[in-house]
């Protein structure tokens, strides 16, 4: 009997003590060991604020943004790359039969807007966090607003008609999101599409502000004043505001060292003298650009292959040909492939979002459009000479514009330009052989999944 009482008392002691110790936290379990934190505790000091700014750049790195699709699709949709892999989503882009249900079309949209929300949360938090000095505050604000503007511009050029002076105020652009989302109710409100003109105006106003807010302290790994100017030059070019495009490009060219970096060093040396805004990747924070481009024999997946047209676009002695492309090795049956991104073992090739040669080509095009042909050729030839080519000459505006177009194709291959260049100059139908019935395909569809979520969004015609 004594034994039984002892056993029982011991049991009860065990129950009560185990509950006393383990139930103290009761049903409130701490989430932080799971690498998440309650949002009210997330951005409370400068260190956490800086972490949140890094989070915006992380958005740019995503495979649905510069990490893969936004970098390679513009070449795939145009005539620089063709699909040789297994993803039907890529095939649709290659043959330009994109369905509104294409998952990647949705993923790109989603990732860009999530990057915008990350920026908007930071913009709000800057006001809350105590102890930031005025200088830092400007830099933080500038970075968040620059990245937000970049994402808006990248959205409008993919999902809306190119800027057209006469229709831009009525052409549908993409929704401008200036406010961070905090509640379910707020998130559920459907937004509507702003016009193309509104989006361009927003982007330009923001970038003009960023020029003032930003320093060049973290150039070229992060947003800087020069990067804001360089992006402005590009936006003005897309807007066909030739004067301003030329002026901004000139500012950038004057601020930058001369165009003397060897072409391969742009890629082989990280953050070379050429770089204006270079997105950083590391071995433990990788992208898989080389993996998607390289053939299986070199450990890649060869989802994309350079086209005949691109091989033909280069002159034989063009230094860029040998660097950018590897021809087919018929002996060992290895297909041709692109090797601008080549760090297949470490997957840490940087993305060249803004670089100097583009600024020369922007100015060349802007000058040509303003009939300053000699000025245009001067900029064009600066790029050509570096590539080991002869100076080019031409007599008419049209010829110069063709030369610029081709130069952009060769110089900026696989950097996400070709599709936008052909679309904004109205050359896509001719170069890519798009029939009048298929003309609507020059604008990507608004993702069907987003329209289901928000019926206020109007689909682009034809889809």
């Amino acid at each position: 009997m004594k034994k039984i009482i002892l056993i029982f008392l011991f049991t009860i002691l065990l129950i009560s003590s185990s509950c006393f110790y383990s139930c103290q936290s009761g049903l409130d379990v701490d989430p932080t060991p799971d690498n998440v934190v309650d949002e009210q505790n997330a951005i409370t000091n400068i260190r956490e604020l800086e972490a949140a700014i890094n989070g915006i750049y992380d958005g740019l790195q995503n495979e649905n943004y510069y990490g893969q699709y936004y970098t390679l699709w513009p070449d795939l949709a145009a005539d620089n790359l063709r699909w040789t892999g297994s993803f039907i989503t890529n095939r649709e882009v290659d043959i330009r039969r994109i369905l509104a249900t294409n998952v990647t079309v949705f993923e790109i949209w989603r990732r860009l807007y999530s990057t915008i929300n990350r920026a908007n949360r930071v913009i709000d938090a800057i006001e809350r966090v105590p102890g930031i000095n005025a200088e830092s505050k400007k830099q933080y604000l500038g970075e968040a607003r620059f990245l937000r503007a970049l994402a808006h511009f990248d959205l409008v050029r993919l999902y809306a008609k190119p800027y057209n002076n006469s229709t831009a105020t009525s052409d549908l652009g993409v929704p401008i999101i200036k406010k961070a989302t905090y509640t379910i109710a707020q998130a559920s409100e459907g937004v509507t599409r702003n016009t193309v003109a509104e989006v361009y105006d927003f982007v330009i106003q923001e970038l003009l502000a960023c020029e003032e807010l930003l320093t060049d302290a973290f150039f070229p790994k992060r947003a800087s004043s020069i990067a804001a100017k360089a992006l402005l030059a590009r936006v003005y070019l897309y807007k066909q505001d030739w004067q301003k495009a030329e002026a901004k490009a000139t500012e950038v060219i004057n601020l930058m060292p001369p165009l003397t970096t060897r072409y391969q060093d742009i890629y082989q040396v990280k953050n070379s003298n050429e770089a204006i805004f270079e997105l950083q990747f590391l071995n433990n924070d990788p992208n898989y650009l080389a993996f998607w481009l390289f053939p299986a024999e070199y450990g890649g997946r060869h989802e994309y292959e350079p086209t005949e047209e691109l091989f033909m676009a280069y002159q034989e002695n063009d230094l860029r040909l040998a660097f950018n492309l590897v021809p087919a090795d018929t002996l060992n049956s290895i297909p041709p492939f692109a090797k601008k991104y080549y760090r297949i073992a470490t997957n840490d090739d940087n993305c060249h979002i803004l670089r100097l040669a583009e600024q020369y080509l922007i100015r060349a095009e802007a000058r040509a459009q303003q009939n300053n042909l000699s000025g245009a050729l001067e900029d064009l030839n600066a790029v050509r000479l570096r590539a080991g080519l002869q100076e080019a000459s031409a007599d008419t505006q049209a010829e110069v514009l063709r030369l610029v177009e081709k130069e952009r194709q060769c110089e900026l291959a696989f950097e996400g330009h070709r599709w936008f260049d052909l679309v904004r100059t109205g050359r896509a139908e001719e170069v890519l052989g798009i029939s009048p019935q298929e003309r609507f395909r020059l604008v990507f569809p608004i993702p069907q999944a987003e329209i289901v979520r928000n019926p206020k969004l109007v689909q682009n015609p034809g889809y």
Partner: protein
């Protein structure tokens, strides 16, 4: 929660005081004693060893004994008034009688008849047992004998087709892989749909805790595979709300109660069980040979105005890739157990090894496990017991299911003209750079699981009929995983990629409850339980990755040159619960049961921490009424009704209710954080209400017993990942939105068709179950449909996972392209032209077991059937591409369109496929019905005389086969398929899934 903890402390202190008082009041009284003696035998006068003999007073057992080797028992009684004697033995009808003075005069002789229809079975219900006759809920039981000796790694595999209303689908033939179990249809979209498994009272961790996922698709691992099916004494599946409500917030999907074997008093019984056999794929696909493939590709290029790639379509190489990756593989198990004991100590100890290689090279599963179940009865009021299972299992997989780089996918897509090896001896590579045979050898995906499932309890009878039981349970899973992907497997980078991970999953459970039973005036029986439990769960783990290895021989990350990342985490959840149940039985005719449980979970929003789950049930045993007493055509008749609420919180992230920032979103070596989730403080359980109407009917002189249940099961406040406009920066938020309903019926019939007149005659019994359910999604957020997988959809008014895609009108005889239906008639085929093309849910499913016994032979044939479901065969999308993809094609593509006027269902060969003939459409939809000879066993029992001579208790030899024959119109490798594992929303989709095996084993069961 501080107040709550305090209140609980107070309760516990009160309880301690109370228990102490009860102890002190305990009195002992002794009178004159008499001895009750007897012998228990079957109808053939063979002794029954270990039969339970109980002495009851007012419905409560006051003492008891087990029969010995000779079937004999003796019990000393001090008081003989108003006592009842009850003798029971598993599988036999019990005997009961009022104890009279005559009984003490001479030893009793009691013969128990066999209970073929299990009319008197004792059914395990939550926190206790009940006699089948008085059960008012819907419970399906499975006997140990039904699943013993089935050559299968997993317990749930063995359950397939055995219980009405329980749909079990093996998604992948990969050994040890996860299995989809649905009790009465799917009741959730985003939360879990698998039932709650409770082993010896401890809710188990189930599912896949592994981190290896790269290219493994539906081949999830399965925490259930750590249980040895042969250790199981019985399985009960609680289906309706009344039976489930006692498990409250986790019971929406049904509850599977597993009871492991325990020792019985008597001499030690040793059992040696052994089987061994082989497995083979039951089907292969007919693919093109090298010449056919080259001709097809030439035609495709020429049709598109391009140059033919193969100038000379004759090739000396003609690899049959399926033959190269599939194999005839061994399977086997050996088990030794010992059980026995005396009135004070009883034990069951077992040790088992199970091993299986996969039918695809490079895969396999092994398990070692031991179990010790112990019961101590130091005094007749106190019982102390433990159940302990230790398991080590080892699972080897290769990429497959949702991967075209895996051996199965590779074997189907790689053209026959490719050799296995290059002339230099290296692996050749297909269009994707992979080699199906190579991948089975060069890559490792190993999961090792170390599992402890244990509990210990103390039960004490405080006063007559009132018991208190407290238990501690532990489920501790330690999972070590390692992967190595060679450069051959695309995805590996250049020089190999390796991963190592360790995950610990821990569950601690403390349960305390009182049970009380009392019979008043012989007509009222009241039974009640009440208790509380605390449960704490944590999962923690770490993963490291390495890349760039010096050679193929080095496969552990220590040899890597580059470390792309490592991570670690810990997460957890807690639950506090209170539960009670009262059963009332009037005259054995009228039954009433009331259940209640309150669960508080850390997973839910601060505004909705606690959920309350009541259930009520009633039964009327009409046979007990006077007007049926003499009806010969009714041996027993009972009608039942139940209604109740259960909850569901599985599959919900531990912190789903909170607004969160996540870490790990780094840039340039600097740590980054981003908002990852919007807060939802009102998040709560999914709540399922279920109405069940049932009837139990026994007729034809106890030859047929029939159970029929009709149910309406409706889940509201679905835990739903509601899509948000992504312009908000968020894609989903978890909210309680939407309703889903299952209406259906379960029918099971057990029949003794032929009963032998003599001991040696032919006996034939049939066990049949048949189920139907109709699943409908009743409402969703703003009626928004959601899309999953290839073509699966969740849409209002449709069953969950309905297929939605373009409709093909067949091949246009003029152009050779597919004509697609222009649903909205706008002249172009756009996303709006997609339509509902079929459902993955069967119209009905079930199983049929026939057992024939003749002399010492027994023949058991079990058929499983499934009718009316569709399968989306996305595999064909890849191997019927008619040139659009650089992959091999089915031999049937020879019937393709070749010239205008051809009438065929296969379009023309084209490389560019501008019409997108191979888009997602009902062209890939197939009938998934099947009838499968799931299990056949022929066994021979050696005669008792022979056994005696060999000094054995019994001996049985058997030959067994699983999946011996399958009849199906489905063209793929297997109709039991889902590439997305146990997904709720992607159902019946085939994408290079590992097929099921057909196996044949020989075995022996020895008992001595």
């Amino acid at each position: 929660m501080g107040t709550f903890a305090f209140l609980r402390m107070k309760k516990i202190l009160l309880f301690v005081a109370w228990v102490s008082i009860v102890f002190m009041l305990r009195l002992g009284a002794q009178n004159i004693s008499l001895t009750l003696e007897g012998k228990v035998m079957d109808v053939k006068n063979e002794p029954l060893v270990g039969a339970a003999v109980e002495i009851l007073k007012a419905g409560v057992t006051i003492t008891g004994a087990y029969t010995d080797e000779e079937g004999a028992f003796w019990i000393i009684l001090s008081d003989t008034s108003n006592l009842f004697l009850k003798v029971s033995y598993v599988g036999y009808k019990s005997y009961s009688a009022r104890i009279t003075a005559d009984m003490f005069k001479a030893p009793l002789s009691i013969n128990l008849p066999e209970d073929v229809l299990e009319l008197e079975k004792v059914v395990v219900v939550g926190y206790g047992t009940q006699e089948k006759r008085s059960v008012t809920g819907s419970v399906a039981g499975i006997k140990a004998a039904d699943i013993a000796n089935i050559a299968a790694a997993n317990l749930d595999q063995a359950l397939q087709g055995r219980a009405a209303g329980v749909q079990i689908f093996q998604n992948s033939g990969t050994p040890g892989a996860g299995i989809t179990v649905r009790v009465r249809g799917a009741s959730s979209i985003n939360s879990g749909n698998q039932p709650l498994y409770v082993i010896d009272g401890v809710p188990m961790n189930t599912g896949d805790f592994g981190v290896l996922s790269e290219n493994l698709g539906g081949q999830t691992i399965n925490a259930l595979s750590d249980i040895n099916p042969n250790d199981i004494a019985s399985i009960e599946i609680l289906k309706d709300a009344a039976a489930c409500a006692i498990y409250g917030a986790r019971a929406s999907n049904g509850v599977v109660l597993i009871t492991t074997k325990r020792g019985q008093a008597g001499n030690t019984i040793y059992n040696l069980n052994f089987y061994s056999g082989i497995q083979q794929p039951w089907r292969k696909l007919k693919l093109m040979d090298a010449k056919q493939y080259m001709e097809l590709m030439n035609e495709a290029y020429i049709n598109d105005g391009l140059e033919a790639p193969y100038a000379n379509p004759n090739n000396s190489v003609n690899t049959d890739w399926q033959n190269e990756i599939f194999q005839t593989a061994p399977i086997g198990q050996v088990e030794l157990s010992a059980s026995g004991g005396n009135v004070n100590t009883r034990y069951f100890i077992s040790g088992t090894y199970f091993g299986q290689q996969g039918i695809q090279k490079g895969t396999g599963f092994e398990r070692f496990n031991t179990r010790m179940n112990l019961d101590l009865t130091p005094t007749d009021k106190l019982t102390i017991g433990t159940s302990m299972g230790l398991t080590y299992s080892h699972n080897r997989r290769t990429p497959n299911d949702n991967s075209i780089y895996g051996p199965v996918g590779g074997a189907l897509i790689t053209p026959a003209l490719q050799p296995i090896y290059n002339p230099d001896g290296s692996w050749s590579r297909n269009a994707l750079g992979s080699n199906p045979v190579g991948v089975t050898q060069t890559d490792d995906n190993l999961s090792k699981s170390y599992r402890i499932l244990a509990n210990a309890f103390i039960r004490y009878e405080i006063i007559k009929g009132l018991f208190f039981r407290t238990s501690f349970g532990l489920d501790w899973l330690n999972l070590n995983e390692r992967a190595y992907n060679s450069p051959l497997l695309v995805g590996a980078g250049t020089n190999g990629y390796a991963l190592m991970a360790a995950t610990q999953v821990q569950k601690l459970l403390n349960e305390n409850y009182f049970t009380w039973k009392r019979t008043l005036g012989d007509i009222h029986t009241l039974e009640a339980i009440a208790g509380f439990s605390f449960e704490r769960n944590t999962t923690e783990g770490n993963v490291s990755q390495g890349q760039n290895f010096p050679s193929e021989r080095f496969r552990y990350i220590g040899a890597a040159a580059v470390f792309p990342g490592s991570s670690g985490f810990r997460t957890g959840w807690a639950m506090n619960s209170f539960f009670s149940r009262v059963n009332y039985n009037l005259k054995d005719k009228y039954f009433l049961g009331v259940n209640f449980r309150a669960d508080g979970s850390s997973r839910f929003g601060a505004d909705n921490r606690y959920g309350y789950f009541p259930g009520i049930s009633a039964g009327w045993r009409i046979k007990g009424e006077d007007f049926l007493k003499d009806a010969l055509w009714v041996d027993d008749l009972k009608i039942r009704a139940s209604y109740g609420f259960t909850g569901n919180q599985e599959g919900l992230a531990n912190f789903a209710a909170r607004g969160l920032f996540g870490a790990g979103y780094n840039y340039d070596g600097n740590a980054g954080i981003v908002p990852t989730q919007l807060p939802n403080p009102s998040l709560k359980w999914e709540s399922t209400s279920q109405l069940d109407l049932g009837i139990d009917f026994v007729t034809l002189k106890e030859k047929i017993s029939l159970t029929f249940d009709f149910y309406i099961k409706q889940t509201q406040d679905l835990l739903f990942s509601r899509p948000l406009p992504t312009t908000s920066g968020f894609t989903f938020v978890t909210e309680n939105i939407g309703k889903i309903r299952n209406i259906g019926f379960d029918l099971s019939i057990r029949s003794q068709v032929l009963a032998p007149l003599t001991d040696k005659g032919l006996r034939w019994t049939i066990d049949f179950n048949f189920s139907h359910y109709a699943n409908t999604v009743l409402s969703l957020y703003n009626k928004q449909p959601q899309e999953f997988g290839f073509v699966s959809r969740v849409s209002e008014g449709r069953p969950i996972g309905v297929f939605y895609a373009f409709e093909s009108k067949g091949v246009n005889p003029e152009t050779g392209d597919i004509n697609f239906v222009d649903l909205n008639g706008d002249g172009v085929i756009t996303a709006d032209d997609r339509n509902y093309i079929g459902s993955p849910h069967p119209l009905f499913f079930g199983g049929l077991t026939n057992i024939f016994t003749w002399n010492n032979f027994e023949f058991n044939i079990f058929l499983q059937f499934n009718y009316g479901n569709k399968i989306y065969n996305s595999t064909r999308q890849y191997i019927e591409s008619v040139g659009a993809l650089p992959f091999n094609n089915l031999a049937s593509v020879e019937n393709r369109w070749k010239k205008p006027g051809d009438k065929t269902d296969i379009p023309r060969a084209t490389v560019l496929d501008l019409n997108n003939n191979s888009r997602d459409s009902n062209r890939w939809l197939e009938d998934g019905s099947f009838l499968r000879v799931k299990n056949v066993v022929l066994s021979y029992n050696f005669s008792p005389a022979l056994c005696k001579r060999l000094k054995l208790r019994s001996m049985k030899i058997f030959i067994q086969s699983q999946n011996l024959l399958t009849f199906t119109p489905y063209s793929g490798l297997d109709p039991e398929v889902n590439f997305d594992g146990t997904s709720n929303t992607v159902l019946g989709t085939d994408f290079f899934t590992y097929p099921q095996a057909r196996n044949i084993t020989l075995g022996v069961n020895l008992s001595f």
